[in-house]
Symmetry: C2
Subunit: 353 residues, 2 copies
Amino acid sequence: TRVHRIAAIPGDGIGPEVIEAALDVLDHLGRQSNAFRLEVERFDWGSKRYLREGALMPENGVAALRAFDAILFGAVGAPDVPDHVTLWGLRLAICQGLDQYANLRPTRILPGLSSPLSGVGPGDLDWLIVRENSEGEYAGQGGRSHRGQPHEVATETAIFTRAGVERIMRVAFSQARARPRKHLTVVTKSNAQRYGLVLWDEIAAEVATEFPDVTWDRMLVDAMTVRMTLDPGSLDTIVATNLHADILSDLAAALAGSIGIAPTANLNPERAAPSMFEPIHGSAFDITGKGVANPIGTFWSAAMMLGYLGETEAEARLMRAIEVVTSDPESRPRDLGGACSTAQVTARLCQAL
Amino acid sequence: TRVHRIAAIPGDGIGPEVIEAALDVLDHLGRQSNAFRLEVERFDWGSKRYLREGALMPENGVAALRAFDAILFGAVGAPDVPDHVTLWGLRLAICQGLDQYANLRPTRILPGLSSPLSGVGPGDLDWLIVRENSEGEYAGQGGRSHRGQPHEVATETAIFTRAGVERIMRVAFSQARARPRKHLTVVTKSNAQRYGLVLWDEIAAEVATEFPDVTWDRMLVDAMTVRMTLDPGSLDTIVATNLHADILSDLAAALAGSIGIAPTANLNPERAAPSMFEPIHGSAFDITGKGVANPIGTFWSAAMMLGYLGETEAEARLMRAIEVVTSDPESRPRDLGGACSTAQVTARLCQAL
Ligand SMILES: CC(C)[C@H](C(=O)O)[C@@H](O)C(=O)O
Ligand SMILES: CC(C)[C@H](C(=O)O)[C@@H](O)C(=O)O
């Protein structure tokens, strides 16, 4: 039996609800199989710890995570802590600390769900967004001078390194190669952003020569929103900077019918450190504690984690069960037009396994 | 008779086709009225001039424009000149040189057009996007070091000044106040961008106290794309940074049924220098010279220009005529599902006036 050590960080808001649901599912999957077993350790990091102890995680937090094979993350963010504190103090600290530089965001219309775009059905929107996850607009550089004075100036400096752009471009072309259509769209804004984004354009053209079997094209980020909306079938794999991809992936999730089901993988592709898997919906304090959170984004993230751990058969089984649940109006959570609680969705999913 | 001096800069691609169409319409409007007359001077600035003389406009170009009451701009960008050269050499040089810091982008579903969103009709999407147009991600600061080396680094520095944010926030709240719903949504990304975008949040709250009759809320730019797609009726006036608004306004135009009709006004609200009006569609070299360009975005921009010049009656007349044209399938250009050439659309519009 293969043993995989998992760090679970439920975090804030509905994070614990969806993470416990996913851990139940993973447990169920593990017991069905003799092939693998997950050893899970839970960490109580997040906003409550911040309010209690002044830090979202302990100082050696990132180092402690290195002992695990993968990390399952819920959500972070609370009404009583500034968003930039929670984000930089936990999620970004982990992603950047473990150099999880490739963020994969698959988006498609699951069976039973529908796009807000008229005439767009399941086969018409099937994308993989590759988000640069270690630099760019999230590099953390910037500051404020003359605070509160009439001549106050604040800066946000986006940093793009050749090494950073080359490695994400290689991940993007490799991911495109592994998909049936083998097509990559490189998103920039090099007409306005003349330094870092022109570098993106140049490196895309260089790396493309290493992948002659992958077709590719370029889009400006603003025009990209138009193409996603008016011609979704023309897109396959997409690579963009940290901020551009953040914006495009929320739009993608909305166009695919729900932000509640969108998963994400923060990968350290060389496996020099563990990778982290999480739903993108956030902590959703308005429904916290009501037992109605939609756990499907976390299930999908857990499926990606299984694939990353080499448990591809369990991954496929879980994805099929997710599709059984979304297909059946009787099994869907409230935000997908059903009436099921988190526990009921989880039970249905375990039945479907 | 009031006389208004207009600088016309047709520019590249379909720019001259749509600008000549709009000048015909303006001429028609002027002859119908005894109240005003436009004196138009044309400038041959753009990519052809760059290829011939090494600059998109003369060195004293911006200064020359100060003599006019308003500027009507077509498009800039050509396949044989890098996009960042054309953009910074002409359009941004004018906007920044004349301190046109407020960029207004109205978006609504014109009669006869339809949104790609199912169930969304004309009354459901009526937005005014206010784009900061003088700093932020388009401040022009940044650079590249170690060019071509493995350790190359490129930076893009976004600059936010208290003065710059305060003035755009005041324009946004004033614009919101002038609309029936009196609601403003302030877009930032202050969870990730901790300096300039936190400053946006702070100044929004400060300026809001000057406009107690305007309601307002805050959105993160990524979640904003979801709200625009899933709940368009909840939005009215929107203010965002230069780059965020660039992305959101293209999405808005797509959701309203066509990027071909979207207009924009680059305003110097204090009238210390002339303002500039242009369609947002760009130079569209694929259809250049075929006589099929959609001139409606330029007509709408011309209507905004008339309003700015105080000719509000002519503005209203032109807007009504635009709606007559879009309502009638027989009058529409090709990209709106009709069969009309640029000249035919223009003739129909003059008839409707
Ligand atoms: C929580 C937030 C800061 C985060 C991001 O911007 O990266 C989120 O929007 C996401 O897409 O994962
Ligand atoms: C041409 C381009 C640089 C421009 C911009 O980004 O400002 C355009 O997209 C716009 O929206 O006006």
